[in-house]
Amino acid sequence: MFHNMFKLCNLEIAKLLREYIVAVGAESYYHKFVPRANKFHPLHFFSSTTDNLDLPANPSCGSFILNAVGIIRAPRGDGKETIVLVTPYNSQNTTYSDAVSLGIGFSIFSLLSHVTWLAKDIVWLAADSRYGEYTTVDSWLKDYHGPAFPGETSRIVDDACFEENNSDSLDHIKVEGHNSYVYKRAGTMAAALVLKVVDKKEEERDSLSIYAEASNGQMPNLDLINIAHYLAVHRQGLRVKIGSIIYFLKASWVKLLGEMLQHITTLAKRLNPKWKFDITSADYVEGTATLASSIYYQALGVPTGSHGAFRNYQVDAVTLEFSPRSSLNNENVRSAFLLKTGRLIEGVIRSVNNLLEKFHQSFFLYFLTAPHKYVSVGIYMIPFGILIAPLPIVAAALFSSNNGSSNKDGSWKWLQAAKVVFLIHLWAMITSLLPYVLLQLPLGTPSSFASAWAAVAICFLLITYLILWSSSIDCGWELLKSVMIVAAAIGLSLMSVINFSTAQIGAMLIVPMCLLVKPARKQTQGVFAKALMLTSNLALLVVAFPPAALLIAKTLFGASGNIDIGDFWEWAQILWSWNSATYMYLLWIHLPCWVLCLNIFLYPCIGSSSKA
């Protein structure tokens, strides 16, 4: 089957798969759709399903995607639930790994068609990932969950298009009629698995990488990862890997910290055997790297694979990426590899099949520190809580200290500060909507987009300041700081509900800056204290600026290529094209807070209203 696949191209693979599926005795159909470019639209952030507002009237015949889908109905089951298996392949550029993954998918499918213990239906989607894996799976899921009614023409693609292309198909593949395009469904999805085979050259053992993050930091139930991990390690002898940031694995300061902790905790255990939190240095280093990666990917809000599309419909899904220990051209290696991976997936499917309900006993909110270790929501909320707790206290302290000075205006001076803060937030909102306008302009390269964006933003900021100076709002920096801290606290708390990891990282950057900021020209006693204050303020301000943070992160963690201003535009583009809430957070909460801090740092006049 593998060798056949190389000679065929796009649509023929789908036809071949359908033939095989029908030969096994299962139902099959084609899913056809036309992919659309994902444009920036402000409303996309607030809705998960978008209407086809910009579907062209006549979709061009060459740009549609055909997926083959197979359904096994459980012979003794009640047909209420399904398990979905997805094997993506690139029809334009089919590699050997793609063929192997399709082979694994089909062998499991044919096994499940004659097994006696099947209680749920099985759906196998061979997804053509020519224009992106996520797009295909997302479109199929949308059609699965949203029935098409005859009146809507936007979803029905003209079949005449397809028939014309059949003229040069191979003779032994029959041209099929209308029936093969009828969309068939199979019940609510209990769980989904996405299988991929990747040929990485530097492995000593067969390994499995598990990707679980979905959009906006959502994760599948931890039980699904536990099943895959347990079966892989204890039954099939695979090595399980989860993403980790290499910088932490190699950094010497992390290792030093790990060794210190090891000494302290073993000492504590010797004092009282009941304290079981001893940890070795290697565990600590590995845990830090994995935890950092887990927080980072959840904070980005971008799904790490096509399993993220399932999470939008509350279906638990993970991507299992297998890599063999040597090249798959060797017959023995290939058959052993197929056996291991097939058994693992059969085990996972049987476990999900024997359940009576969807996963709900384990955690939905967690970070992974190793494939079998996790930090649950009850524990990781505590550092965030501790970071946020001082904010209202400091705000109240500043407000009351300012109020103590006898001011004739009374206690309504904070309204002036509130006006300033509100105007800055308005500016930030306008800045965040700028890309929608900028994309209409034919500017070309990302760096030009980025510079245009920065220029327009600075223009608007200057206009805002002109408005402020003309209305002569002068409040005193303490009130401004207090209102800014309140705004930051509210923003962070709201963000923690939407995507906790973003709020966590954001709090780590914003809170020290907000709490420490003081005007540079403020007189303090002692040269050393003043120098310390200045340097710390500057450092925090620099680090908290989003592009600067990106720069630092890239130099430390990522590839060391030349960093262009266009990278920032691309990074922002990733965020908004995936409808990630992180984009909103950065531009609506983080940026205005930073601008206000900068404002306080560079506060012009230190009047009599300030206190030491």
């Binding site: 003794r76 089951g77 006696t116 213990w117 209680a119 024997n354």
Partner: protein, 395 residues
């Protein structure tokens, strides 16, 4: 003569009745103290695939009890779900209680009396107390009498003084005690053995007070009862520890063994059970070492052969048929001391004892060849003649 005292007449009549009733009473009490039959009520209260082991527990006990002699008509089997035909079962139509899959508990002759959603607390109480809707068939009724020994086995999920039925209701210990008390008052059992295999099983019979009841539970208050082992082929645990060790005890026995109840109760080791099997014998009069297990778990039948049907107790039995131990499963009735029955002629003469049958036979012989219509005419004419004569006489 006419002036005899009416009270004196009453006294004489009472005395007369008493004289006649004494022997009757004596015979009924001696009749009641005999152990006549064994019944078994086996209840599995939990459903769903992950409670496979409760079904396997109950079916294992069913098989044991049948093997040791209690027939299906005296077993009430209540199973809350169907595991054999569950779609997750890798071995359809088979239920195992061991991962070696040697023994299929769900063979050809399993009679389930209450199945699926019929296993409710209400039906359970009705079975015990005997208060059924008139339409309930005999196979679903516990038709025990005052000479019955009843084995009541319950398994499922339980807790402190309750047993969970089907995830939606509970049987509480005072309900059970009430049912047993009603049974005692209605003389529905002579002795009752309650065996419970759930978590905190011993609390379920805390409230029992009726005499003649023996109870054993798999764990005490605050303890859990554990499953024995997981079958990785079927994917769930297949048997509970208490039942597993009970079966291990019974597999060594056959119908004629006289192992005692105390040896059964002492065979439970708290270390292997991972819980303490607690039994309650304060309501039970007989000493445990003297009670064979087959008086509850099996059925040694004593068959009394009578010469003819419908004569009741007035004719003493001519012979007694003894059960002789055959080989293997050969339980044929061999009748001794009865040379009479060999002759066919005697059989015929015995049939004519009934007077009604004699008269019918006579009539049939007489009118075999007669025309029925002629007979009718003659008979009708005679009737009319007699009628006219009688009316003339009376007038």
């Amino acid at each position: 003569m006419a002036t005899r005292d009416p009270s004196m007449i009453c006294c004489f009549r009472l005395l007369f009745l008493l004289l006649f009733s004494v022997p009757l009473i004596a015979s009924s009490s001696s009749w009641a103290s005999m152990h006549h039959n064994n019944w078994a009520v086996l209840v599995c209260t939990s459903r769903y695939w992950f409670n496979y082991r409760h079904m396997a527990n109950t079916l294992s006990l069913y098989r044991t009890v049948k093997r040791l002699g209690i027939p299906d008509e005296r077993i009430i089997l209540m199973l809350a779900d169907d595991m054999a035909c569950n779609m997750r079962n890798n071995y359809p139509a088979q239920v195992f209680n061991n991962e070696n899959h040697q023994l299929n508990l769900y063979g050809d002759n399993v009679e389930v009396d209450y199945r699926g959603y019929e296993v409710t607390v209400e039906n359970f109480m009705r079975v015990l107390t005997g208060r059924h809707d008139p339409a309930v068939p005999r196979s679903k009724r516990l038709l025990s009498d005052e000479g019955s020994h009843i084995l009541l086995y319950m398994t499922g999920h339980g807790g402190d003084e309750f047993l969970k039925f089907q995830d939606s209701e509970e049987l509480q210990s005072h309900d059970l005690a009430d049912a047993v008390k009603q049974m005692k008052e209605k003389n529905r059992f002579k002795e009752l053995l309650i065996m419970v295999d759930t978590c905190q099983a011993a609390t379920l019979f805390n409230q029992l007070q009726s005499p003649g009841v023996l109870a054993i539970g798999s764990s005490m208050k605050g303890e859990n009862s554990y499953s024995h082992h997981l079958d990785s082929d079927i994917g769930v645990s297949v048997v509970d520890r208490f039942t597993y060790y009970t079966l291990a005890f019974f597999e060594k026995l056959n119908m004629y063994s006289n192992a005692s109840l105390s040896s059964l109760f002492n065979s439970y080791n708290p270390r292997t059970l991972m819980s303490t099997a607690y039994y309650r014998m304060d309501l039970y009069q007989r000493p445990l070492p003297e009670v064979p297990v087959t008086s509850f778990f099996g059925s040694v039948m004593k068959t009394i052969h009578t010469d003819a049907a419908y004569m009741g107790l007035s004719i003493p039995p001519k012979t007694e048929a003894q059960f002789l131990p055959g080989d293997g499963g050969n339980h044929q009735l061999r009748i001794e001391n009865e040379p009479d029955l060999e002759k066919d002629g005697n059989k015929q003469t015995k049939e004519l004892h009934c007077i009604y049958h004699e008269w019918l036979n006579l009539l049939q012989e007489r009118f075999e060849n007669t025309d029925a219509e002629l007979l009718f005419r003659y008979g009708f004419g005679t009737m009319v003649f007699l009628l006219t004569i009688s009316t003339w006489l009376l007038a």
